[in-house]
Subunit: 425 residues, 2 copies
Amino acid sequence: MRTNGDAELQDYVLTVARQALAASRALAGLTSRRRVDALEAVAAAIRADAARIESENAKDLAAARADGLSPAMIDRLGLDAPRIEKMARAVEAVAAQPDPVGRAIDGWMLPDGIRIEKRRVPLGVVAIIYESRPNVTSDAAALCLKSGNACVLRGGKEAMHSNLAVGQAMTRGLGDADMPPNAVQVINTPDRALVPLLLARDEAIDLVIPRGGESLIRAVVEQSRIPVIKHYTGNCHVYVDARCDADKAERIVVNAKLQRTGVCNAAETILFHRDVAASLIPRIGAKLREGGCEIRGCPETCRVLPEAKAATDQDYAEEFLGPTVAVKVVASIDEAIAHINQYGSRHTDAVVTEDMGAADAFVTGVDSGNVMINCSTRFSDGGVYGLGAEIGISTDKLHARGPMGAADLTTYKYVVTGSGHIRES
Amino acid sequence: MRTNGDAELQDYVLTVARQALAASRALAGLTSRRRVDALEAVAAAIRADAARIESENAKDLAAARADGLSPAMIDRLGLDAPRIEKMARAVEAVAAQPDPVGRAIDGWMLPDGIRIEKRRVPLGVVAIIYESRPNVTSDAAALCLKSGNACVLRGGKEAMHSNLAVGQAMTRGLGDADMPPNAVQVINTPDRALVPLLLARDEAIDLVIPRGGESLIRAVVEQSRIPVIKHYTGNCHVYVDARCDADKAERIVVNAKLQRTGVCNAAETILFHRDVAASLIPRIGAKLREGGCEIRGCPETCRVLPEAKAATDQDYAEEFLGPTVAVKVVASIDEAIAHINQYGSRHTDAVVTEDMGAADAFVTGVDSGNVMINCSTRFSDGGVYGLGAEIGISTDKLHARGPMGAADLTTYKYVVTGSGHIRES
């Protein structure tokens, strides 16, 4: 069903929101075992529907080719049997994670015997607005189900057929496990007018997570009356301190910049303390250039590394997402911290140092969700941290920061138990 | 200084925001001891300035009388020596609380030896927009300083002289303790055009907490690009279950409704299971009426309690904040839960029951920050819970729910320590 016209779209959004809220109430009362069974049924249904998902995906691919999408985007969009199997396995991996719901995160007794418990509970309804690959559809749904939330999934129009096919399989899986079928709803229209209507439904939706380019995220923040957790991609730094181990510095810088360049936890700017600039910039610069990396440096960098181009201020703000790096010499760790807090995106920043005082100052001073000491920025990842699947890496400070797993999709309630207690004053 | 004109106001807001950000960076590096010393110096300065604060307060009181404010509002606005002493003591009480900053809230090792720590850190800059009494100025500043945050305080225009006098004392106290003086800034203009300008400064301000009437909170949510934690006042319920202890039910209902009626954790609607309606509504209704309470009931209630007026649908949505109560008979606990989730404000709701299954169903089903079993809704309070002072009671689900203390004004960062580790895959 495609919706046409504002009233019809509004009706559709209201229905989706109301169904999600009702499903979330039903989910809140289910045991951990029921949710695990549901995830396993969803994985089985994705496997059983693999051929149909692939043929629906072929429609998206044909349209993408006709629209002249880049080969990289077409590759991201494409699903084949191994990728669909990977989606099913990711759902099973989420099922196998520890259950965050019901966990007592704190608890104490008041002097008169009242018992207070702070207990993890699902948020309720989570909306995810994304531009990414079709596997986000099943990953996000799995994390929401694991944490007892209903979800509304709004993918990009390029992947509409694929997302709906994955959604259909998931709905059937939910039915097989006798779960509320509206626990997962995939939006069925590419109409852009839907997004602001959805973002106005704060009576039903508890959280919005936009995943995609910065313009998408900014648009959601502008329009939303629902709390948003932002997952901006990363402008990550490595700061090479005066008292560093040169081998570690080389290894970490090269890994952070080049091990995989198109990802949010790759480094974009390397800062060198002036005391080691002359010795390390040429050495590490040579390694980076060997790896195919273009270097844009400050004047001091260009002096010791003549192959470097001059960096502009914009280069320091840039997330290259490719084999380009900005390099800057700083006079002190304080200058490094100030640079990172000015240009960074609060995602992940690393220091290479053998000096405990410098490490402490860096950890305290850098206002980012992940601060790495003597290891690569590339480790900043929910899978690596052991959170299981991640819904993304929050660059916000409220609610959840850094990699977000199922536990970050919960809230808590205070459960206060007395035996007839009343308040006297 | 009063600001005039849009450009001047914009300049003022930019300066305040920039100063707050700079102060927050300085605060992040200070030890717990330094922050405690600062709070003690602030308390001493408020004490030392008591006469001046009282004389500035007299100007606000004179204006309030000239403007014809209600006696209740004038009483809330007024400061005298005992009230100012109470403000100073509240600051000292916050100083004496455990420090939330630096606390390791989780930590583990990865298989290859990388160490991950989730460490509590200040949010950065907190803005509080309030309409309430002048003591909010010192309470909010104390909680922010305790948690290592800079704050921007925007009180109501009725209390402008009082708030600025308290702010001046606090700034002097901060100076005495050699703290960044812009750690606490009190906005010095009543111009309403300032608020949207402040709410646009998301590069500097991390969190906005609006305190006051629902229209203030809604306006802030509409205008803000900064995350908001809402502290709506409460439409709280007591549900008296079929299998309750009648004495506990009477005691709890009367206490929840009448012990103090003008507060957010007072009960506004009482729900009775049909099985106990005929026996308990007349008995508890009589007690409520003895306490001066007007009762608005559903048809079944009016049948067993002829003195009750007929309740309208609006009565169930109303926060009376006075000696009026809505009473409704429900056929089941599920109907009670559905009523609370429809009409309640997610603040605090109580069940009176001896049936463990009913208590569990109520705790799971009611979507509120505080769920009370066999005790009064009046216990929902940061002071009672032992959080020390509270910045309010969050009716949101994201970040912090229920009573918010200093720890709720922090976030965390992942501190990841290796010894030259790089990522291979």
